[in-house]
């Protein structure tokens, strides 16, 4: 937010604080990309002019306090149940724009059933899925998305896939369901990637506004604290290790969504 500094008359704003964010300081660790993703969602909601009719559903995990940070109507769901709650809100109030904001512990572990069935039913909701390959809030334990060999507090010798299975690729999994209209995986690890992620979030909301079906944006994110890296090193680690396993790009674009993309 601007301070009392004088702005020369020929200067035009190119970046301003989004209206869809409150002025609260977030509790996220320094350098955590949750903040970037919050901001992108808020910018998209501002630009689409839907703030007054958008309802968010917060998860359990690091983003559990998201309702404090978005200047929108918000609900808090039981762990993993955000898609079920969003389904109810959207069906009762079809004019609202409903999105869930979920981490990998919430969406890919305890809430796997909810997200798969919500997507398969083609619920007109949008899910923002933040994948940082670890349980952040509880202290850095192994998540379903933790990479093979990745050291966490509960896999001190590295994830052993013979015992713990393979990291789960949610975007691919949801992408095969007929109810899902638009599913993509993006990353917020550098400026071009952040720009693409914002375009994807915008398209996901437009898919909902057009009533085309379920939309999900998986976003590769960082957890520098639990990875034991600096914020900058964490971005590089994610690029070097997460992106090869979780390839970026669309895993589902329904024909109707393709038509929507062409409308710009």
């Amino acid at each position: 937010m601007a301070t009392g500094q004088d702005i020369p008359p020929d200067m035009e704003p190119v970046y301003q604080y989004p209206e869809s964010l409150t002025s609260r300081f977030t509790h996220y660790c320094p350098g955590c990309t949750h903040g970037v993703i919050h901001r992108l969602i808020a910018e998209v909601i501002d630009e689409l002019g839907i703030r007054e009719r958008t309802v968010g559903v917060a998860p359990v995990g690091c983003a559990v306090l998201a309702y404090d940070y978005f200047n929108l109507d918000f609900c808090e769901a039981a762990h993993g149940r955000a898609p079920a709650m969003a389904t109810g809100i959207k069906r009762v109030s079809p004019d609202t724009v409903v999105f869930t904001y979920q981490g990998d512990g919430d969406l890919a572990a305890i809430g796997t059933a909810e997200i798969i069935h919500a997507a398969n039913r083609g619920e007109l909701i949008t899910t923002i899925f933040v994948n940082n390959a670890i349980y952040g809030m509880t202290g850095g334990q192994m998540a379903p998305t933790t990479l093979p060999g990745q050291v966490t507090t509960s896999s001190p010798g590295g994830r052993d896939v013979r015992m713990a299975g393979w990291p789960i690729k949610m975007a691919e999994l949801i992408g095969v369901l007929p109810g899902a209209a638009y599913v993509t995986r993006q990353a917020v690890l550098d400026v071009p990637g952040i720009r693409r992620a914002k375009q994807a979030i915008r398209l996901a909301f437009r898919v909902q506004l057009a009533g085309l079906g379920f939309s999900m944006v998986e976003i590769l994110s960082t957890c520098n604290t639990n990875w034991g890296l600096s914020p900058l090193e964490a971005l590089e680690w994610a690029k070097a290790h997460m992106v090869p396993y979780y390839p970026l790009g669309d895993t589902k674009v329904a024909d109707a969504v393709r038509a929507l993309m062409e409308q710009a």
């Binding site: 601007a2 500094q5 020929d10 190119v14 970046y15 604080y17 400026v191 900058l232």
Partner: protein, 85 residues
């Protein structure tokens, strides 16, 4: 004033993560030395305001919405380029 751009830093929002330092193409951002904001972090500072191009890369990478960015309107009545992002 010849700077093409201008950033306003909301110092108390800054957590000193330093991501903006890495993306600034003209390298004019640094963390404060021996000075802290109200939350105990070393906030980002601008070293050479005249060099700012108003590209808004700092604002795009910032997880804490610290930056407000302005860009000088192009001459001959042409509007400034649209906001990035």
């Amino acid at each position: 004033m010849t700077a093409k751009g201008m950033v306003i830093i909301d110092e108390n929002r800054c957590k000193g993560c330093g991501l903006c330092l890495a993306v600034c193409p003209v390298h004019i951002l640094k963390l404060a030395d021996g000075r802290f904001n109200t939350r105990g972090y070393r906030p980002v500072e601008i070293t050479d305001p005249e060099a700012c191009t108003g590209c808004a890369m700092c604002a795009i990478i910032c997880p804490d919405v610290v930056f407000t960015v302005y860009r000088r309107r192009a001459r001959r009545g042409q509007p400034a380029p649209p906001p990035t992002g």
